[in-house]
């Protein structure tokens, strides 16, 4: 791809405050129409990078916007190329909102040149777009947080720059307003503008951004599509927490689980027999306590299986609507035999998973969780009840909530 297809090219950008290195040799190229989410922990340098891009901070290295060297542009010319919406802007004088939005036309006007009808039209157009036209005569100081943020967004749009930078534009907003701002940004990038937003919320970033740049300690540690950047490994590395990234089947979006797992001090191996969602909570609980956990046999599509995948729990799975194969059964029994403890969850039994119940016979030590009577969960015409009764003789019976007492 030719150089001039990039709206922004940053080469070896470093920035120091006193002797502290805030940005270390940043290299970044951004194409027209991208919606880049800048993510990373607090203090990673996201805001500093944005301020270097719009010239407020002057770092070493090169920043090129639309092929023009930032250092050689006057501040007004920079403001015609790139606009920045700051984090937590507070205006303490009661300027009418329209005046605040019109300040976005400042870089386009000469001294003593009054705002033309065209400038007013542009300002009103974007106020209308962000649904703030109704506030045009109201003092900015009287608006709520969400309203104010939308006015600032209109201001940034009024600047009509190719590159739009947003520094945590939704830091103090509720989810509805957050969605609004990101929807506008999304539309903006689809209309050919380029948006770079420092985003705190990874879920939001993964949902709206076309590309993510992950920063840590003033460096870019990952850059690429949402799937490429938001991996458990990257998140763990950037944020220093044990994170799990998975796709939430309900929302279809990436979701995060922050593991609070004890270091594996527990040598005990626990095997879980579950299904139909009965085992998820137990898997998480045992996993966090640091046990070696395995589970089986689970059916594809079962939320318990998804849960096992998220936690990286060893599992045996089989196709839905078919009986458990001999092979699966055999492997399940192997796990059960090895396990120090087997937990039989409060699950329904049908002909297809009856062999899981049979496998429980091989347990060294069996814990049966019984929150509801088996009769209401038996769909085998009594066969399950027979095996169950036999298992109960040598098992510890308790409820899900009291499982911790018996382990």
């Amino acid at each position: 791809m030719a150089e001039n297809d990039f709206v922004l090219v940053i080469e070896d950008l470093s920035f120091y405050i006193e002797d502290n290195c805030i940005l270390k040799g940043i290299n970044l190229k951004i194409k027209k129409g991208e919606f880049v989410g800048l993510i990373g922990p607090n203090g990673a340098g996201k805001t500093t990078l944005l301020k270097c891009i719009n010239g407020i901070y002057k770092g070493t290295g090169n920043v090129n916007i639309n092929g023009k060297d930032l250092k050689k542009l006057s501040s007004k010319k920079v403001a015609r190329e790139v606009s920045l919406m700051h984090q937590n802007t507070i205006i303490s004088f009661p300027f009418p909102c329209l005046d605040v939005v019109l300040s976005g036309r400042y870089p386009h006007l000469k001294r003593l040149q009054g705002e033309s009808q065209e400038d007013y039209r542009i300002a009103r157009k974007y106020m209308d777009y962000t649904d703030t036209l109704k506030f045009e005569a109201r003092p900015i100081t009287e608006l709520s947080g969400g309203e104010r943020q939308r006015v600032y967004f209109a201001k940034v749009l009024t600047q009509e720059t190719e590159l739009v930078l947003l520094d945590e534009p939704t830091a103090s907003l509720d989810i509805a307003h957050e969605k609004e701002i990101f929807r506008y940004s999304c539309e903006l990038s689809q209309s050919g503008k380029t948006v770079i937003a420092a985003v705190h919320d990874l879920k939001i970033a993964s949902r709206y951004c076309t590309r993510l740049v992950l920063m840590k300690d003033g460096c870019i540690i990952a850059d690429g599509s949402v799937e490429e950047v938001l991996t458990s490994e990257n998140i763990t590395r950037a944020y220093g927490v044990d994170a799990l990234v998975y796709r939430n089947k309900i929302s279809g979006q990436l979701d995060f689980y922050i593991r609070e797992r004890k270091d594996e001090t527990e040598e005990k191996h626990i095997h879980i027999i579950g299904g139909g969602g009965s085992a998820s909570g137990i898997m998480r609980q045992l996993y966090e306590q640091g046990f070696k956990v395995s589970t089986g046999v689970l059916v594809h599509g079962d939320s318990d299986l998804q849960c096992a995948e998220v936690f990286g729990i060893e599992h045996i799975s089989c196709e839905p609507f078919s009986d458990i194969s001999d092979d699966s059964f055999r492997r399940n029994v192997e796990y059960i035999k090895k396990a120090d403890l087997t937990v039989l969850c409060d699950m329904p039994f049908g002909m297809q998973n009856l062999r899981n119940l049979e496998a429980a016979r091989f347990a060294k030590k069996l814990v049966i969780l019984e929150d509801t009577p088996l009769e209401s969960r038996d769909f085998t015409g009594g066969e399950a009840i027979k095996i169950y009764a036999e298992l109960k003789e040598k098992a510890v019976i308790t409820t899900t909530a009291r499982l911790h007492e018996v382990i």
Partner: protein, 351 residues
């Protein structure tokens, strides 16, 4: 008065407030010229002024009155007008620039510097030789003081508001101490002369004084109006201003320079007149809103009106004796200032 609709307001200001204030100012100017120890009828005052501006009218008035009006009272009123306008404009710009409604030209050390200049001129006995030494020394002192404060508070060419305010305070106190030291070593008469200067007197101001003040005040006010939009942008916040392409540090330096000249020009012909730069912008902001494109011109007129009126009061309240105009402005300004504080406290916020 609350600013309900800022935009309609701007047209309202242009069409009604501004012309009304100009008319009020003209009326007050003439009234202030007419009244005094010898009261001269309003109509005659107008005729004398017009005649002396070579506007031919059927002039018919007593000879003695002409010199009272045109060579004594009118120049004094004009000086009062210029001083008031200059101080108010400086006040508006300072408050906007520091985003602090409590800022006034005093924080630049201008007043204290002018005081030191004045006392030096008096101590050297120069005031007896020429009328111009005192204003010259006063303005030199004030510009020197602002320059020192500016140098002290700028780091790598950038000036931060807080350091400027704090170093302004420290330098002002230091300069005041030197002034006091000088005062203890001069004659009683000279002390009285200085005291008279500090209370802000406009007596015996002539056309020469008006000329000294007019050039810098009018020029700077026009330039400041030209920078009104930049000042508005500056008020949105430092970074907000930078991101729409305003070179904040260069703009701030220029504005500081212009306000120090304006204040110095005002103070050097009038002595120190307090509270004008503080309360006039305040009141006008409440009426016309924070937009400097209207706020600066409107404040200039209001400041002029305020000082002309206060000067008139200072002349007639204990007539035939008069008191310093600075005393009157303080007597009105201080209670109003306290009222603002009281109201702010009641509303549970800072001003």
């Amino acid at each position: 008065m609350k600013i309900e609709s800022g935009l309609k307001n701007r047209h309202l200001v242009k069409r009604i407030v501004l012309p009304a204030m100009i008319l009020m100012l003209i009326f007050t100017l003439i009234l202030a010229t007419a009244v005094g120890a010898v009261n001269i009828p309003f109509g005659e005052t107008v005729k004398i002024i017009l005649k002396n501006f070579h506007i031919p009218i059927n002039a018919d008035f007593a000879e003695g009155n002409e010199s009272i009006i045109f060579y004594i009272r009118f120049p004094r009123v004009i000086v009062a007008m210029l001083v008031g306008a200059g101080l108010a404009v400086s006040g508006v710009v300072m408050q906007g620039m520091f985003r602090n409604p409590m800022a006034d030209p005093g924080i630049l050390g201008v007043s204290s510097g002018a005081g030191l200049g004045a006392v030096t001129a008096i101590a050297l006995g120069l005031t007896a030789r020429s009328l111009f030494f005192l204003p010259f020394f006063a303005s030199a002192g004030s510009l020197l003081a602002s320059f020192i404060i500016f140098i002290l508070s700028s780091k790598k060419g950038k000036v931060t508001s807080l350091t400027l305010i704090l170093s302004g305070l420290a330098v002002s106190m230091f300069i005041s101490a030197i002034t006091s030291m000088l005062l203890t070593s001069i004659h009683g008469d000279q002390v009285k002369e200085f005291l008279f200067w500090t209370t802000g007197g406009l007596s015996a101001r002539r056309w020469e004084h008006a000329a000294i003040a007019a050039v810098p005040i009018v020029t700077c006010t026009i330039i400041l109006i030209a920078f009104a939009r930049d000042l508005n942008i500056l008020m949105l916040g430092e970074e907000e201003a930078q991101s729409v392409g305003l070179n904040t540090s260069a703009t701030r330096k220029l504005l500081l320079f212009l306000t120090s000249i304006t204040t110095a020009a005002a103070i050097c012909v009038s002595g120190s007149i307090s509270f004008v730069g503080l309360i006039v912008p305040h009141i006008m902001r409440l009426i016309v809103g924070p937009d400097h494109r209207t706020l600066i011109p409107v404040s200039a007129i209001a400041g002029a009106l305020f000082v002309v009126a206060c000067d008139m009061v200072s002349r007639i309240i204990f007539a035939p004796r008069e008191i310093g105009v600075g005393i009157v402005t303080s007597l009105i300004g201080a209670p109003y200032f306290l009222f603002l504080l009281y109201r702010a406290r009641k509303e549970g916020g800072a001003i």
